[in-house]
Every structure is written in C-alpha cells, then in structure tokens.
C-alpha cells in the first residue's frame, strides 16, 4: 500500500470562551492517501469544520490547536513557524471554502483573485504567462476566459464556487480541503460543481477531504467516510461497506435518516440532540441517544479501533452490530418522528 500523504494524529482543538473551555476536536486521528476522497460527516457542532480548518492552521482565537500532529508528506505542519506554513498553504494543502458567495473579494476582478496566490508563490511570472495560467485554470473548471475580467457579483453562485476551485488547484496542491462546497447551491448546480471538483482533483492527482452533512453527496463523491460526533470520530470506513452495513449506531442513524426519492416516508429522526460541548456526557458521547447502549457505555468510552478490515469504529458493540444484534427493546431512538412522552396522541387546543 502506498504511504499516506497526510497523517493526522490525536489532533485536539479547543475554543476558550468566557464560560469555559470547549473541546471542539478531541483526539482526531486518520490517514489520507494520495488521490483519495475522504468524507468528513457530522451535524452542526460536531467539529468537522474546525477539524478541517485546523489541518490548514486556519483556526483563529478563541480557537487553539492544543495538541497532535498533522504530517503532510513527512512534514509536521503544526511544528512549522507561521512563515513556513504560509508557503505550504495553497501550494501543498488548499481550501475550497464554505459559502463561495462570500469568500471572494467583491472589489477585485476574478483574474486578480486567481493570481493573488500564484504571484505570492511563483514570483517572476510574465504578464503573458499569468494570463495563460488564468485562462487554463478557468478552462479546467469549465469557465470561459471572459470570466477573468468579471467581478464576483457578475457570476452565479455555481460559477463563484468554480472560481474558488480554480484558485484551490492553482498550485497543484497534494491535498484539497472542501468545506461544504455546495451548501448554498441548488441540486443541478451542486452536481456540476462536484463533478468539476472531481475532475480537477483527478487531473492534478490530489487527495480531497470533503466536509459536509449530506450523506447523498458523500455516496456520490467519496471513497471513505469518517463520521464525527461531538468532536470525535465515531466510525471511519470505506464508503460502500459503510452504506451497506454501518457499524456505529450513529452512522447507522445518519444513513437511515437520509431522505430519499425511493421511499415515500418521513425518515426517522435521531431522538435528542447533540450534547453541549460544555457538558459532555460520561462514557461514550453518543450513549444518551443510542439504541444499542449498555451499562458500560455510560461509564467508559471506547476508542476508535479496527473491527473489520479497514473499518474502524468507536463502539463497544460494534462486533455485536456487525453480527446483526438488534437494537435495545423500547429504545427511544426507534420511536419515530415524535417522542411519545412529549407528544400527546391528539393535538387539542382549547382556544
């Protein structure tokens, strides 16, 4: 097997707030292989975006990276001085940001925004060479050369996001981090942007980390999925086996929750909500919402471990679930859309 291009080990990120310290990413470890597409999935507050931005060291106070290693091609990014990190960003590890609508500078031509990073990293490009590079990059994401002479407000959301992809691949990085790149786009545009990203990635041979919450998008794009919950990885598995048989109860709930055009029924929702990062439960962080929880789950946390070939799961019952164990009888999670104790059987308003 080839060596990983990116190794993340025990990454810890905190937000220091007046009300206390919040552990947003708690001991995240994974490997990313060249050319691979890894999905990082979670609900809001799961730490997925914080984790992704930490890999680029783009976390701003009150956020702080407090521990761990991010080794890109043999080099620990967390040990680099800030100036060294500036040379690595964009050139070796690049970001396609969330919300392309607001990530371009409204008063600069697209051409200038693409060249900004290029000029910084590759000095001495002639003006003709610059134009050629801009046109080539725009063509690579399916945009006309004329776009170079436009301002962001003249472009549609999908075009803006493709400009962001063009910027991200401009220096042929080894790793592209795409943070919900299509969250504000319509399905038709979303598909085009994802196809553009996939094509550009294959062309430069980069690996991609796709951060998001849409399991449908993950199924269409990635090879491997890491599921985050309250700052921790719950399951890290190749995509197809994960969809066929999720081994972590949370992964399973997420997959079963995804609305589909195949079945006309409202999917179940996961009962309860993500714990506040200020008041984490004891033991496994998911146990209060878990329909497989045992007594042990309330006191002791299972670490991510290899349960099946290439499948790593942080659950005491992963083997049981793999063997087809049923959920606990009367488990709250299986109750359907409304929790029974909160919803009276009939809506009665005495107005």
């Amino acid at each position: 097997m080839t060596a990983p291009i990116l190794q993340v080990r025990d990454l810890r990120v905190q937000y220091r707030t007046p009300r206390g310290v919040v552990q947003a990413v708690d001991g995240l470890s994974f490997d990313l292989y060249p050319g691979e597409r890894l999905g990082l999935v979670g609900e809001s507050g799961s730490g997925k975006t914080t984790a992704a931005l930490s890999l680029l060291r783009l976390i701003k106070p009150p956020g702080h990276i407090v521990g761990g290693k991010v080794v890109l091609d043999g080099q620990d990014l967390l040990a680099l001085p800030e100036e060294g990190m500036r040379h690595v960003r964009l050139a070796q590890i690049a970001l396609v940001p969330q919300g392309a609508m607001s990530s371009l500078n409204p008063v600069l031509l697209i051409r200038e925004q693409i060249l900004d990073g290029l000029r910084d990293h590759e000095t001495g490009l002639s003006s003709r060479a610059q134009t050629a590079r801009v046109n080539e990059l725009l063509a690579g994401v399916g945009l006309e050369p004329a776009v170079a002479g436009m301002y962001p407000h003249q472009l549609s959301g999908g075009m803006k996001q493709r400009v962001c992809i063009a910027i991200a691949i401009s220096l042929r990085p080894k790793v592209i981090i795409a943070d919900e790149p299509t969250s504000a786009l319509d399905v038709v545009v979303q598909r085009r942007v994802m196809e553009t990203l996939g094509k550009a990635q294959e062309e430069i041979g980069a690996a991609v980390i796709l951060v998001g919450h849409d399991m449908g998008l993950m199924a269409q794009f990635v090879n491997r999925i890491g599921i985050m919950y309250a700052g921790q990885l719950m399951e890290l598995s190749p995509m197809k086996p994960m969809f066929q048989k999720p081994l972590h109860p949370y992964a399973r709930a997420l997959i079963e929750n995804t609305p589909s055009l195949a079945v006309k029924a409202i999917p179940r929702s996961i009962d309860g909500s993500m714990p506040s990062l200020m008041e984490l439960p004891s033991g496994c962080l998911f146990h209060p919402r878990c329909s497989y929880a045992l007594a042990a789950c309330t006191t002791e946390r299972q670490t991510l471990r290899e349960v099946r070939a290439e499948r790593r799961v942080a659950c005491w019952r992963a083997e049981d679930i793999a063997a087809g164990a049923p959920a606990n009888a009367g488990a709250a999670t299986a109750a359907g859309a409304l929790s029974p104790d909160a919803a009276p059987e009939k809506i009665g308003l005495n107005a």
Binding site: D186, M239, F243, A262, I266, A337, A342, A351
Partner: protein, 348 residues
C-alpha cells in the same frame, strides 16, 4: 363555495422594465386555489430565482401582485377591510426559513407565543394562555418546561423552528405557508419538523404550502407538487406521478441531479443540450438549457398541457394532450381528490 385563499392569474415583476433587457419576472400568470375542504400538503419546488419565495410572499400579502389578484374568501388582499384582514392574518400563518433570524433576542421565546395570543385570541386568564402555549408546544413534540422562559440563543435551531410551527398552529389557522422550513436545521432534526407539519394536516385539517428546493422532502410529505422554473409553472400534479416519472425536461434534470444516498446508484450524466439557439422574449424559459429544444420552443413558450388527469406539463413534447386553462392546477389537483376514494378502495 368561495375558496379560502386563491391566487388568480398572479404575476410579479420586480423593478422597472429597461428596453433591450429581459423583464425581471419573478412569477408569471400563476393561479392556485387553496380550499379547506380537502386539507393537503402542496409542495412548490424550484431553484433559487424560480419565484417560490415570491409566491409565498404574495400569498401572505407581503407583496402586491403586479397583475392579477390574491383573494381571501373572495376579497382581494389589496382592499381587505379591517375585520377581514384580521381574520386573514389569523387563518393564514407562516413558517419562515431561518429560525435564527425570526426571534427578538431580547425576549424569551414566550414572547413569540404570547403576541399572537394577545392579538387574536381574547383570553384574559393568564393560566389559560399558558395552557394554550403548553399545548401548542407539546403538539410539536417539545417539552414546555424545557422551552418556556428560555431565550432564543439557549435553544437549538430545530427547537426554534418547532416553536415557530407551534406559534403558527396556536391560532388554529386554515393554511400554513412554510417557506423552506427545514433547510437551516440539521438533518437529524428535519424529520421531526416535517412530521409536525404532516401531523397538523392530518389532525387539525390545516392545508400546507411547502416551499422548498429539496425534492426528497417534498416527495415525502406532499400530495401535490408544483415545479417552478424562472417564474413559470413547468410541471405540476400528483407527487406520486411526477417524482417517479418526471415529464418536463427541467423536472427530469432536477430529479436526476439529486444525490442518492446509495453507492450503487450514480448520478446519471447530464444530457447535452441541443445546439443553442438565440431565444426571443417569448421563448420557453428553459429552451437554452433543454436537451430537446425545437424551433417552436424559441418562437413561443408552450402552454401547460394536461398530460394525464392528475398532472400538467408545459412542454411541446406533450402537445398531443389538451391545453389546460388558467385553473388547470386546481383541475389536476381536484381530479386527485375525486380519485382518492377510488384509489383507497382499489388498495383495499
């Protein structure tokens, strides 16, 4: 019988018309009748700029149509008398997209529930008002003691949106217009809010206009669907017919673009478009993106054809079918009501 709420040939054009530029038509010649005899959920889907939010605002009386009328019990919203306006505000409720923006952060969420009670229900007793609030919260699956007395920032997006649904149902409205009610909240909580809406329809007989860009949720909770493209209805009808077998090329593109949460089912390649033709002002709005564009599409936009008893499509591919009139949507949806009894008999 007079319909509770009706849009009659409504168009909305924003801004002014500049010569040589296409008119910014947000919604064009839209007609829909919402009656209360057959409560149902109607989904309105389309991409951004398709006019779906404009439609919501027109139905709520927050925008005035450029041409056409929105009628409440037969009276135009332009000239509602004070008592009718009061009744309209009570009967037609809304749930907006963003549960983070609709609250005043200085008040506890009780305030959002107390104001409609004070304005519309003449209830003096404090205990009774509290009982109503608690009932409404319980009806959307919230525990009142965890909600009342809290400030908006202390609650999750899902909780806030469910309070908005509770607020809407406090007044026992006849219609709720829900504009992207779940797009801002987490996937795991969406099902709960959608379940609430469906429950309101089933148990309180409230008709719901569900405006969304998400086809999957539209399919799950609605019976009828209206697909808007650039301000015009391109396809409409029984959701069980439209989603599995879309007829209009735009609906087909839309449905083929939904990412399936199934690794075995890949995105189908986008059909290449027919060679682009210069489109005139009267052309079909989808002509420059359509794989099936014909010369006549450029000359004149197609009318809505009644391709099946319970569905319509605005495309010349179906020009064998009869042309539907301005009340075509209701005819198609109405046929569905008639067919309902027969269908359940057949199922049994």
């Amino acid at each position: 019988m007079t319909a509770l709420l009706e849009a009659r040939r409504v168009s909305k054009i924003y801004g002014e018309h500049r010569i040589g530029r296409p008119r910014p038509v947000a919604l064009e010649d839209f007609s829909l009748v919402i009656d209360t005899d057959h409560p149902s959920i109607t989904a309105v889907v389309g991409e951004s700029g398709s006019g779906k939010t404009t439609l919501a605002r027109l139905l709520l009386g927050l925008e005035t149509p450029t041409t056409g009328e929105v009628l409440y019990k037969g009276h135009s919203l332009r000239s509602l008398g004070a008592s009718n306006r009061h009744a309209f505000r009570r009967d037609v409720q809304v749930v907006f997209q963003n549960p983070f923006e609709v609250y005043n952060p200085f008040y506890t969420v009780d305030h959002a529930l107390e104001v409609p009670i004070a304005k519309f229900l003449s209830i003096r007793s404090k205990q009774e008002r509290r009982a109503i609030m608690m009932d409404a919260l319980a009806a959307v699956g919230l525990r009142p003691n965890e909600i009342l007395g809290r400030y908006p920032h202390q609650l999750s997006g899902g909780q806030r949106q469910r309070i908005m649904v509770a607020r809407a149902l406090l007044l026992k409205p006849k219609v709720i217009i829900a504009d992207e009610p779940v797009s801002m909240i987490d996937v795991s909580l969406r099902a709960t809010v959608l379940g609430n809406l469906q429950q309101l329809k089933d148990e309180l007989g409230i008709s719901i206009i569900y405006i969304t860009h998400d086809l999957a949720t539209a399919y799950q909770i609605s019976r009828n669907i209206i697909v808007l493209y650039s301000g015009s209805v391109v396809e409409a009808g029984d959701v069980n017919r439209v989603v599995p077998e879309p007829q209009h090329p735009y609906t087909q593109l839309l449905i083929n673009s939904v990412p399936w949460a199934d690794p075995e089912r890949h995105w189908t390649p986008e059909p290449s478009r027919a060679h682009p033709m210069a489109a005139g002002p009267d052309a079909c709005k989808f002509a420059n993106r359509c794989p099936n564009t014909m010369p006549r599409c450029i000359e004149h936009a197609p009318p809505l054809y009644r391709t099946e008893p319970s569905r319509l499509a605005a495309c010349y591919l179906y020009d064998q079918a009869p042309v539907s009139g301005p009340d075509g949507l209701m005819a198609a949806f109405g046929r569905l009501d008639e067919a309902d009894g027969a269908k359940s008999d057949a199922a049994a």
